[in-house]
């Protein structure tokens, strides 16, 4: 079994690395890059939703904050990508901490609503803050990153996002099997028991939320330099819902789930382009169908989903009394 795994991993790596050369089609490589972007976004949101059991409906905003931060630094100050990229993540993390600190003490459903509101506020502020963000005109002409003086080709972007995805997945995998990841899951499973194990609920929730936000910010920074044109409507509520949908469809709380969800939801609309105006109807129908048939998502950890509503509710009222 072990040998088979190594072989499988090796095969997978070879497939992925040679992808731009097996299929030298820029369109498919682009679809692959978009898959990578959303895989990371979904995986990061999964830290919040799947591991820690919190709700966030504003992930797109943090993605956007990262994108705008990096793009503005590159455009206005001509800073290189390798500097603006981490700063995009840092800015998103900063906002994540602020939102987290403000909301995470409240009942978890409020985090969802707050992040939803925050997402919309972010979008509107970007639209209105003309002097900085050029408002609705968007930011065109974001520079292409260079690597030792060589400008990224499409393959360059592909390898960057491939590496990035691999790093994020590996990080989440390690997190999952570490003290910190176990603390996240313990919080998801039972907050009261978790706090009795010495887990600082608020601290770890904030950590999970901030981690997710900073990863989203990093992807945003990458996206800005990849798309080379960003505008506020690319990071609105629809984006947040799309990411959420990927997590839920693929499977909450598993490492593979968000990857699968992102791949399906990015590739599906491409494959079914021939359906023309029926495409989105079918998209909606399939979404409903999959969730009804397999509420945990395609490969989800059932645990996240089997908690009866009643139990969740009892827990809330309990906590409230306890505070």
């Amino acid at each position: 079994m072990k040998k088979l795994n190594i072989a499988a991993v090796a095969l997978g790596s070879v497939l992925l690395i040679s992808f731009p050369y097996i299929v030298p089609n820029p369109y498919l490589v682009r679809v692959a890059i978009m898959c990578g972007i959303y895989m990371i976004l979904a995986s990061s949101l999964n830290i919040v939703i799947g591991f820690t059991g919190m709700f966030s409906l504003g992930h797109g905003a943090f993605y956007g904050i990262g994108a705008y931060t990096s793009a503005l630094l590159a455009l206005n100050l001509q800073w290189p990508f390798w500097v603006t990229f981490p700063l995009g993540g840092a800015m998103a993390a900063l906002f994540g901490v602020l939102i987290g600190v403000a909301t995470l003490r409240l009942r978890q459903i409020f985090l969802a609503f707050t992040t939803l509101g925050f997402g919309e506020i972010t979008r509107i502020v970007i639209l209105n803050w003309d002097s900085l963000t050029r408002g609705p005109m968007g930011l065109p002409g974001i520079p292409i990153p260079t690597f030792f003086g060589v400008r990224f080709s499409q393959a360059g972007y592909y390898y960057f996002i491939l590496l990035f995805t691999a790093v994020v997945v590996l990080f989440i995998y390690r997190l999952y099997r570490s003290r910190i990841g176990r603390a996240f899951i313990a919080i998801r499973e039972d907050e009261v028991a978790a706090s009795h194990m010495g887990i600082h609920l608020f601290g770890f929730k904030t950590l999970a939320f901030t981690l997710a936000c900073s990863i989203a910010g990093l992807v945003g920074a990458f996206y800005a330099h990849f798309a080379r044109f960003i505008s506020a409507d690319q990071f609105g509520g629809n984006e947040s819902f799309a990411i959420l949908t990927m997590v839920a469809l693929g499977g909450t709380g598993s490492i593979l789930g968000p990857l699968l969800g992102a791949a399906v939801l990015i590739i599906f609309p491409e494959v079914f382009r021939f359906l023309a105006q029926f495409r989105m109807v079918i998209y909606g129908a399939i979404l409903i169908f999959v969730i009804v048939v397999k509420p945990g998502g395609i490969v989800g950890v059932r645990g996240v989903f089997e908690k009866p509503v009643q139990a969740i509710r009892a827990k809330h009222s309990h906590q409230k009394g306890g505070r």
Binding site: M1, L4, N5, A8, V9, L11, G12, L15, L16, F19, V23, N25, P26, Y27, L28, R30, V31, A32, M34, C35, I124, L127, N128, G135, P136, M137, G138, P140, G141, A227, R228, F229, S231, D233, Q234, I255, L256, L259, L260, A263, I267, P269, E270, V271, R273, F274, A276, Q277, R279, M280, V299
Partner: protein
């Protein structure tokens, strides 16, 4: 089965799916009986579906007409339609799809400037004509030598409208309402600048976001600034809503606005409220010119509705492209671009088209007004 194995299997599956997309669009066999493909990127679903569908109708109609006339250089044309949903990301992905398909020689679209700008770097890099019927963002056409827009920028249209307002209508004090997107901001800015230059006063400026349905608050506020007229930088749907709600507030005054207001929809949705509205057009369905009349009749026959300004632009885009191919004598992407750039006085439905160095069209405008719920030529009076 272990998770890792599952992962690899899934990966293989995903790659397979991706490749099937590839295979789906890849029966390339450049035999001469194969048509020449033009790509159309337009929002077929989503918020802008109405405009995207008009694009599609017009382009299909234009292609049928070209093919009925024997095609271009002996080859038939065909269109591949891609739905961008009005989402810049989809538009960019489609750009990548079109440019990597060797059968496609040029692209028409997208509807919004935002989508066009998002796709621009890809056309630029791959070297394919990106001919947008409607993108009026000042940065669009000048952003790449491959990008062209035939709608004309607001920098070209607004001086004309400002003149209309100031000199023809004798208006001195105008309040402005505009949609807060790239187009609306540009439109309002150029109008305001030009109107002030003529000596007029802008009493107030307010904006609203896409999707807003309630304009009463903004209108009430604008009304308090006591303008003689209202300038409305909006698409015809919003234009009708704004007019309706203005009428409900009992506020009657002349309204003036850009060519995007020109649509039968405006009359249908606005009813009596849109009377006394002044705008300019470069395409006018009542224009007696035979080519316009035949287009309007044909469009109505095929789709059961009157074409509007946006539809006519898409038709022009397709016709212009065919013309450029003929002039280039080739279906080479590069040659098409060169021919397109050299376009001079192409007789489009929406006025003749000449490109500036940057790729913007210089347009001519006609003043119209709404009277008795009908568009009429202003100068005929």
């Amino acid at each position: 089965m272990s998770k890792v194995l599952k992962g690899v299997l899934f990966l293989a599956l995903a790659l397979g799916m991706v490749c099937s997309v590839y295979a789906g669009g890849k029966q390339e066999k450049a035999a001469t009986d194969e048509p020449v493909y033009i790509a159309l990127t337009a929002p077929i679903t989503g918020d802008y579906a109405e405009y995207g569908n008009n694009f599609k109708r017009s382009v299909e109609m234009a292609i049928d007409k070209i093919n009925a006339g024997g095609g271009v250089l002996g080859r038939k044309l065909a269109v591949l339609v891609g739905d961008s949903k009005g989402d810049p990301k989809e538009s960019a992905t489609l750009a990548q799809k079109w440019t990597s398909d060797p059968r496609i020689v040029a692209q028409i679209g997208d509807f919004t400037s935002t989508c066009c700008l998002a796709a621009q770097p890809i056309y630029d890099q791959a070297g394919m004509v990106q001919l947008s019927p409607t993108a009026s963002h000042t940065k669009f056409a000048q952003g790449s030598k491959w990008s062209f827009s035939i709608v004309g920028t607001q920098a070209g249209e607004q001086p004309f409208i400002a003149d209309y307002a100031y000199n023809k209508l004798g208006l001195r004090k105008i309040a402005v309402i505009h949609i807060n997107n790239d187009w609306g901001v540009d439109t309002a800015r150029y109008f305001t600048e030009n109107f002030k230059k003529l000596g007029g006063t802008i009493t107030a400026i307010e904006n609203y976001f896409d999707g807003e349905k309630d304009f009463t608050a903004i209108l009430t506020k604008l009304r308090a600034s006591n303008p003689e007229a209202l300038f409305m930088a909006a698409m015809y749907n919003d234009g009708a809503s704004i007019s309706n709600q203005r009428a409900k507030l009992g506020w009657n005054l002349p309204v003036i606005g850009p060519s995007s207001l020109y649509s039968e929809q405006l009359l249908k949705l606005g009813g009596d409220a849109v009377n006394n509205l002044y705008t300019v057009v470069s395409f006018f369905t009542d224009d007696p010119k035979p080519e316009i009349q035949s287009y309007v009749t044909e469009f109505q026959k095929r789709y059961g509705l009157k074409p509007n300004f946006h539809a006519s632009l898409a038709y022009d885009a397709m016709m212009l492209l065919a013309d450029a191919m003929k002039r280039a004598g080739s279906f080479d992407r590069d040659k098409i671009r060169e021919a397109l750039q050299a376009t001079k006085d192409f007789p489009g439905l929406a006025g003749s088209i000449t490109f500036t160095e940057k790729g913007d069209a210089i347009k001519q405008y006609t003043r119209v007004m709404v009277k008795n719920n009908k568009f009429e030529l202003f100068d005929k009076r």
